[in-house]
């Protein structure tokens, strides 16, 4: 990534870059997360700007690390795509009870329309379900300022805060100016507070009561926070909106009176009631699920929402116009694009060619290799969530008739294996199907799908410096797999076919690691590894492999 585009006082930056800048200006001590479109650039940019940023094996671990930092009084940010928050939800729901000392900001980067995701879940539900405040920017300026505000809010009320972004906020570039942001009030130090942070039932019961009290106080603060701008226009039409829908609304209905909610939970119901009373027709325009609409209705504020079909996909200026005018005509079909495909020279190609040839039932996973579902391979039968290949493959094996069960393989990438494959592997050892099972780890040495990020299995950290390395074949053996094979999927396709066939026929548990660097990242990986090897050697002249 190149330097941020700047002129003396104006920066043209994406929403992700704006959040990273705000982290720098707000004195964030630690950024952690797991790569996921459209959130990945936040931590990468924060590291480039000199911040301390690191990739965790998955979002749950990342949020735990960030929570620990916040317990110690430091400002911490944890970033993930929307589905990552499902993984981290176990932390989130109880961190809402414990509260924090230093500011803890959780970035949920949602993907309405699924530009690069397996679902389009609306993570505004998480704020309501866990009981934590949510801030939603519409552009880079707001992303910058609301990030700063999120830390201050988190510290003031001792509560984690979710900054919810969407693909078009994360990846659109708009002009912003830096403004002074509140700095952390103190340096990290440990202050014991057992009833607040040890969530046994006796302490958790009062913690839940405290949480609901905080939310009431935050709602009261939000009435006068000044963070929900009202844009005056013609009083005949009033629109309540939030996030990127705001700018679509402004363009589609420049004459309307608009209330943009940037603190979307807990809602300022007094402000909303006053707004409702001040306009003739009241409409909620929101991307995704009808959440604001339902909240307003539940509070007894009569409001028009959008027809059900606009729940699906992104909103656009065109779609907002249709909602405003009640246009019932079918929408023009979306401009369909060319689907992505596995790169020329990608080592996954030979693996899926073989799996197809062997007639395997393939329990797949999340990554570039999911593209093997498309022609000419069509060699993937399931893909659900990170790590599901192993559990789903085992489930298939347990109940299918033996001749079919023997054809089942689980296929997972290296970064995904680090993210959620270890527990699946434990299940495979602990509850082996009668026909055995075969796990293929496609190790291309990087988190390829999101643009070549490091992970715990590469031996290099986010900024590519040398660090500890998890070695998959050693993990598999240590966990009790006796049949472990490491091969190069491009060196000898026939040899690979023979290995997979032998593993399938053995009836045992087998782990086959197909190791070959991602063709797009191979050059970069060589450079990073060369530099890392030099640093290792300089740090430990006697043992270059030490870490």
């Amino acid at each position: 990534m190149t330097a941020l585009a700047t002129t003396p006082d104006r920066l043209l930056v994406s929403g992700d870059e704006a959040v990273a800048l705000a982290c720098l200006d707000a004195g964030v001590r630690l950024g952690t997360g797991y790569p996921g479109t459209p959130s990945t650039e936040i931590l990468e940019t924060f590291a480039q700007l000199g911040g301390k940023a690191q990739w965790a094996p998955n979002e749950k671990v990342a949020m735990e690390v960030a929570l620990g930092a916040a317990f110690a009084g430091a400002r911490a940010i944890v970033t993930m795509k929307h589905v990552g928050l499902n993984v981290a939800a176990d932390v989130l729901f109880t961190a809402a009870y414990t509260g924090v000392t230093g500011g803890l900001v959780i970035v949920s980067a949602d993907d309405p329309g699924m530009a690069s995701s397996q679902n389009e879940q609306d993570n505004r539900h998480f704020a309501r379900a866990a009981g934590v405040p949510m801030l939603e920017p519409a552009d880079s300026q707001q992303a910058y300022e609301l990030t700063g505000m999120a830390f201050a809010l988190s510290e003031r009320f001792s509560i984690p805060v979710i900054l919810r972004m969407t693909t078009r906020v994360c990846h659109s570039k708009t002009i912003m100016r830096r403004v002074p942001l509140d700095k952390p009030p103190h340096d990290p130090h440990f202050e014991r507070d057992i009833p607040a942070r040890v969530m046994v039932p006796a302490y958790a019961r009062p913690a839940h009561v405290r949480l609901r009290d905080k939310l009431e106080r935050i709602a009261a603060w939000n009435e006068i926070s000044g963070l929900n701008p009202r844009i005056e226009g013609d009083r005949s039409l009033g629109i309540v909106t939030s996030g990127v829908a705001t700018v679509h609304v402004r363009e589609a209905a420049p004459q309307a009176t608009v209330l943009q909610l940037t603190v979307t939970y807990p809602l300022p119901m007094g402000l909303l009631r006053d707004f409702a009373a001040s306009v003739d027709r009241l409409l909620v325009i929101e991307e995704g699920d009808p959440i604001l609409e339902h909240d307003l209705r539940a509070a007894g504020i009569p409001v028009e929402g959008k027809p059900e079909r606009f729940r699906f996909g992104e909103l656009t200026v065109d779609r907002v116009r249709r909602i405003l005018t009640g246009n019932q005509e079918p929408e023009p079909p979306p401009v369909r694009g060319k689907p992505p495909m596995l790169c020329e020279g990608c080592s996954h190609r030979s693996v899926f060619t073989v799996l197809r040839k062997l007639g395997c039932i393939v329990a797949g996973d999340i990554g570039c290799y999911t593209l093997a579902v498309l022609p000419p391979f069509e060699a993937m039968d399931t893909c659900v969530c990170m790590g599901a290949s192993i559990g789903v493959g085992l489930g298939l094996r347990h109940v299918l008739p033996p001749e079919e069960a023997k054809q089942v393989v689980s296929v997972i990438g290296d970064s995904t294996f680090m993210h959620s494959g270890l527990t699946g592997l434990a299940e495979m050892v602990y509850n082996p199907p009668p026909t055995g099972h075969v796990l293929l780890i496609l190790d291309n040495g990087t988190t390829a799908m999101t643009g070549a990020q490091e992970h715990a299995g590469t031996g290099r950290n986010l900024i590519h410096d040398p660090t500890g390395k998890v070695v998959f074949e050693e993990v598999a053996r240590a966990m009790g797999i006796r049949h472990v094979v490491v091969l190069d999927p491009m060196a000898d396709e026939e040899g690979m076919e023979a290995e997979i066939r032998a593993a399938l026929e053995s009836g045992e548990l087998a782990v086959i690691i197909a190791r070959r660097a991602c063709i797009l990242a191979a050059g970069k990986i060589r450079q990073w590894e060369k530099a890392a090897a030099e640093k290792r050697a300089a740090a430990h002249p006697a043992s270059p492999e030490a870490n």
């Binding site: 190149t2 585009a5 002129t7 104006r10 043209l12 479109t37 459209p38 530009a115 690069s116 552009d139 078009r168 990846h171 659109s172 570039k173 708009t174 002009i175 990127v244 700018v247 679509h248 402004r250 363009e251 656009t316 200026v317 065109d318 116009r321 023009p332 401009v335 369909r336 694009g337 060319k338 689907p339 992505p340 495909m341 596995l342 790169c343 570039c368 593209l371 498309l374 022609p375 000419p376 799908m449 999101t450 643009g451 797009l520």
Partner: protein, 204 residues
Amino acid sequence: MSRTTNIMIAGVGGQGTVLAAKLVARAAMDAGLAVRSSETIGMAQRGGSVVSHVRVSDGPIDSPLMARGTADVLLGLEPGEAVRCLPYLRPGATVIANAHPVPPVSAALKRASYSGEAMLEYLGRTGARLVVVDGDAVCTEVGSPRVLNVALLGAALATGALGFTTAQLEAAIRESVRKKFVDMNIQALHAGARAAGAGPGAGA
């Protein structure tokens, strides 16, 4: 009344739509104009369709996405991708299209026809002002297959539809690309501008 120029850049992953968008945005920033842009990231590296929206204005801009029927300029780094974006064109828009198609794998598998000429002919019948650039020839002239994006920007520049001067885009190139690639890209900008003058359909 403010004046907004909507520029859409369409191609397939790897052709450099993101850099082309960045150069236009950069030139706008330097000119003190407002700019908002949005692009496809994520699946983009894997050869799929990528579309960048760039909106430049002397007044405020709201949405980073342009509405259908409002694009003033469409750069099609691949003719099929240009055809896909036709619903976004306003009447009388300028279309700069590379002549050379990149057939999708589905067309290759089904042996379906994927004819660049047919697509260019179709573009020509839309009423848009069409400029076809022989991208392969320009890349050969400049000596790099990676300058198609900037060459098409050069062609757009020559039509006057972008609203920027050559000097402004040259400055944007100097500020945005790695030093060793600056000369090559400036060469491509000029080669593209010349090709727009020479290409079929130019000056319509």
